[in-house]
Structure formats: C-alpha cells, structure tokens
C-alpha cells in the first residue's frame, strides 16, 4: 500500500485519545487519511466463553465489566434477555428502580463523554474535571445503593438486588434538580467556543441511510437524523409510561453527535423526575423468580435495551441446563466503529481522534 507519497502511521494502542487500548493503522497522504484499519482485541478475554462455563447468575457481575462506564444498563440488558427467555415477570418497584438507575447511568455517561471529547481535541483538563466532578456525585449515589461505584452488579432476574437505602431518593432528587444548571454551565463553557465549533462542525457528516446500513445505534444513529430510540420503539421496561422527547441531529457531523448527548441528558433528567415522583412501594424482586440454580426452558431469546452508547443486546440460547448454551453480546461500541474508516477517509489526522471520540466507545465492550 505504501509508496513514496504515503506514510503508514500506527495510532495507539497506548494513546490517550483512543479511550483504551485501541489501535488504528492509518495511511496518510500528507495529513489526509487515505486508509484506516482498526485493530481490536487488546482487551479480549472472551467474556462469552466465560459466561457459557458459569451459571446464569454468575454471568451478571461480568456484564459490569463490558462497558465499565455504564454497568447498570449492562445489567439491565442481561436481566431483560434472561427474563424474556425464562418468562419472568419483573416487580413493579424494581421497574422504577431500573429506570432511575439506567437514566442516571445515561447522565453520567454523557457527562463523561463531554469531558472526553474535549480531551480528544486537546483541551485536556478543565472540561474533563468539571464533568468528572458531576459524574462523581452520581457514582456516589451508585455506591450507596449498590455497594460499588462502577462494578455495581445490581439487577437480578425479576427485579433488583436490594432496596433503596434511607435518604437515597432525596439525594437523587436533589442531584436531578441541580443537573440542568450544570448542563447550562457546560454549554456556556463549550457551545459558543469558536475553537470547538471549528473542530466539530462539518467534520465527518454521515447520512441517515448509511448510518442505518452500517448498524450504528444510539446517539450516533440519531445524530444522523434517524428517529429511532429503543426506549420508544420497544417500550421495554416501563418506558412507555414516561413522557420524553427523542432528540435528532440534522447532518450527522461531529457537532450533531456532541450536541445530541447534551440534549439527551436533558431528556434523561425529565424521565428521572417522573420516575422519582411515581415510584411505588413494594418488593424489589419478584419472589417467584429463581436466582441461584436458574434453569430456563430450552429455547432462545434476544433482548435489547437502549444503552447510553447504543443498542446493547444479549442473545441467549438455553438447552434447559444451569448454564447458558450460547451467550452472545451485541456490543454497541464495536458495531458503531463499523463506519469509522468511512467517516475518517479524506479528513485530516487530527480529526481522527475527534471522530473516534464523537462515536464514544469503551474498549471493555469493543473487545469483550
């Protein structure tokens, strides 16, 4: 591939802007990308194989480690798939707890994204620190509810593991009420900034048709103008009861992908307010649901949720035994990278990091 004109550069795997151990083999003509080949697998531990050798319950803590920024949505996706497979009903209160924790997860993921993408553009520090200061408050809530900041292992088949500690709901309400002010501040810091606009606007636009065909999902898909949110499309859990809007982009460039996260965070705040107001009393787990020694009937199920990064699905096959026969994860981070080369071709080297940052990946999920 290389001739006198072009130069091959290996970006990563140890590069602060690759969000982990991710490598891109890039061919450059001057500063323009002519070819880009992503290299995966540095964090591969074959989660699917591990899960197939363990009981159904024991796969739950491993899902925390997929997208380690958002453990609770991972838990939910797996619990949802098993509930479909075994036909387990979910306790009413647990449905609310799931929505609250999942939307908090979405908030902290999008907030962390704002910090990371600024880091990718070279503004390393200020924005990231502000974002992490806010994210830390949500992680503190997670810790006092589930016992761990990031490896929560909270959801169970048919509900959640434990009920709220006293005062938790009030603390959450306080955080949710104060959150729009933080988002306003973040927008004041970033949105008008001429440098940020120059780095994001018009970079790597993506058409809706290509985004759908490339299997993109989540904010990246909606930034291209596709009105598709699994919370609306499937209405899983109790999302059909809440009123919220689905933001959409127009041209699908990096700025649309960036702004979409801010808008989605605002909608999450709305969902959180409704969920906190409507949470009923009751058990947090379906007492009929078996956790240890679960043996779902033979069959298969595909369960998916709208994770903060996109469609997170679990495809499970049971042969009636106490272990999954097949345990497949549909990782949004990996599949959102399908079009990375297409997005990067013709752009400058410095834009690659911004484009990668705007897709928002976590390598724990890409490599599994």
């Amino acid at each position: 591939m290389s001739d006198l004109q072009t130069i091959d550069v290996s970006l990563g795997p140890q590069h602060p802007s690759t969000h982990g151990v991710f490598r891109m083999n890039v061919t450059l003509d001057g500063e323009t990308i002519t070819r880009l080949q992503p290299v995966f697998g540095y964090l591969h531990r074959n989660h699917e194989k591990i899960a197939e050798g363990n009981s159904w319950l024991a796969a739950m803590p491993y899902t925390d480690r997929l997208d380690y920024i958002c453990p609770l949505t991972n838990n939910w996706a797996y619990a949802l798939a098993v509930e479909k497979l075994a036909g387990i009903e979910v306790a009413e209160r647990a449905e609310f707890l799931r929505v609250i924790t999942a939307e908090l997860t979405r908030l902290q993921n999008h907030v962390a994204f704002l910090g990371f993408i600024l880091g990718d553009m070279g503004a390393w520090g200020t924005a990231l620190m502000y974002a992490f200061r806010e994210r830390e408050k949500i992680l503190d809530l997670f810790e006092s509810l589930t016992g761990a900041r990031m490896m929560c292992n909270y959801m169970r088949f048919g509900g959640c593991r434990c009920d709220l500690p006293p005062g938790w709901l009030d603390a959450t309400r306080k955080l949710v009420d104060g959150f729009p002010a933080f988002l306003d501040e973040m927008e004041a810091l970033l949105n008008g900034n001429e440098i940020l606009l120059a780095r994001l606007q018009g970079v790597a636009p993506l058409s809706a048709a290509r985004a759908i065909n490339g299997g993109l999902s989540g904010p990246v898909l909606r930034a291209s103008g596709v009105d598709y949110d699994i919370r609306k499309a499937d209405g899983y859990g109790i999302y059909s009861r809440f009123k919220f809007r689905v933001p959409r982009g127009v041209v699908g460039d990096c700025f649309d992908r960036f702004m979409l996260r801010v808008l989605e965070a605002r909608e999450s705040v709305e969902i959180l307010k409704q969920a906190i107001a409507g949470i009923p009393d009751g058990p947090v787990v379906n007492p009929k649901a078996k956790q240890r020694g679960l043996r779902p009937p033979a069959g298969e199920a595909y369960g998916r949720i709208e994770g903060p990064k996109g469609e997170l699905g679990f495809y499970l096959i049971s042969d009636g035994g106490d272990k999954p026969f097949r345990f497949r994860i549909r990782p949004p981070s990996l599949i959102n990278l399908t079009l990375l080369e297409e997005l990067c071709l013709g752009t400058k080297l410095a834009d690659v990091m911004v484009i990668l940052g705007s897709i928002d990946i976590v390598l724990g999920e890409v490599d599994r």
Binding site: N54, S55, L57, A58, A59, M60, P61, Y62, D64, R65, T126, Y130, R133, E136, D140, E143, S144, L145, T146, G147, A148, M151, N153, R161, C162, P165, E185, A188, L189, L190, N191, G192, N193, E194, I195, L196, L197, Q291, R292
Partner: protein
C-alpha cells in the same frame, strides 16, 4: 453580544466563576486529600468477603458450615474450601481450610447472597496492596474470620437484620423442639393412662 471570540470569553467566565467559587462553595472543590483525609464510606459499600463468627472465639463461633455453596457459585472461582473431619474421619460441619484469593475476587457479592448461614459478608477494607504478588493476597481462615461486632461496626443495618433473622430462626427451632418434646411427653402420659388392651 456576538463578536468573534465572544464564545471563548463566555467560557472563560465559567472557569473564573469556578475558580472563585472553589474558595467558598464545597460543591466546586471536591478534592479529598486522600491519605490525610479519608472518605466516609456509605454503609452498602463493599470490597472483599470475610467470615463472621459469633462470640469471642473465632473457631467455636464460626457460622460457616462448609456447605460449599459459595465455592460453587463464585463466578471467578476464587474460594477454596476443605471440610474438617474428626479423628474417625467423620465430616464435621465446619471448614478446615477456607481460602479466598482476593487477587482473583471481583467483589461481586454473589457469595453473600447465596450463603444460607449468614456466614460470609462483605468487608470495607481497601488498603490491601502488598509487595508479595502471590502469597499476601490469598486470605486464609484466620485472616478471614472477623467478629460479629466488627460486622455491626461496618454494616449496622444489615447486621441488625441478620441478627434478628438468626434469632427468629433459633426461636422457631426451639419452639419446634419444645413442641416435639411436649408431644412425646403427652403420648407417654396417654400410653400410661390407657389400660393394656385385652387380647
């Protein structure tokens, strides 16, 4: 106000507000000076498992009965149990060896959930670094056993619930035993009162 550079000035105003605010608002300066200042952990916080014993003596007060459910259910298989046997080779309801390799443990709490004897619980210690790569992180029975009072110290609500449950179980058992004894005694009385049936 929309001249070139106005966006940057607006952003600088935010950083200035944050810098000034960090002197007066706790919300804007959240740094903890770690080794000197220590965080107060929430009650639910968990790190690694330990074994609870009742009373003063770890060996006799041990709740663990070596049922090995936790060993079987542990996702990364970091628990190793050998059941104790007496001189005649009869299995005893207590472990001879109980090791947890916390270098492998992923703090998932599944062992706690499956334990039917309320014996294994999550600790809150976090300063466990060591120069010994293999030995120091394998906790054996003496290192794992901690008193019920310690458990009350770190998870007061959960420990009180556990104690109440154990107490209720004990009372139920005692009541059942008393009822059984009463029944046996009553039967004896009835037998004694009835005259022998004539053939």
């Amino acid at each position: 106000m929309n001249f070139p550079g106005s966006g940057i000035i607006k952003g600088l105003a935010v950083t200035a507000r944050n810098m000034a605010g960090s002197y007066i608002e706790k919300d804007r300066l959240t740094t903890e000076q770690y080794p000197e200042e220590r965080p107060t952990l929430p009650e639910n916080s968990r790190s690694f498992p330990f074994l609870v014993f009742d009373g003063e003596d770890p060996e006799s007060g041990m709740r663990c009965t070596s049922c090995k459910i936790c060993e079987k259910e542990c996702p990364p298989q970091c628990i190793y149990i050998v059941q104790d046997r007496d001189a005649a080779g009869k299995a005893l309801k207590r472990p001879k060896v109980f090791d947890i390799d916390i270098a492998v443990c992923m703090s998932c709490q599944i062992c706690v959930e499956v334990c039917p004897f309320e014996s294994i619980r999550m600790d809150q210690v976090y300063e466990l670094s060591s120069y010994d790569r293999f030995g120091a992180l394998v906790l054996d029975k003496p290192k794992l056993l901690k008193s019920n009072a310690y458990y009350h110290g770190i998870h007061p609500t959960e420990a009180a619930e556990t104690d109440a449950r154990l107490e209720a179980d004990r009372k139920k058992k005692e009541a059942a035993a008393a009822a059984k004894a009463a029944k046996v005694a009553a039967e004896k009385v009835v037998k004694a009162a009835q005259p022998e049936a004539q053939p």
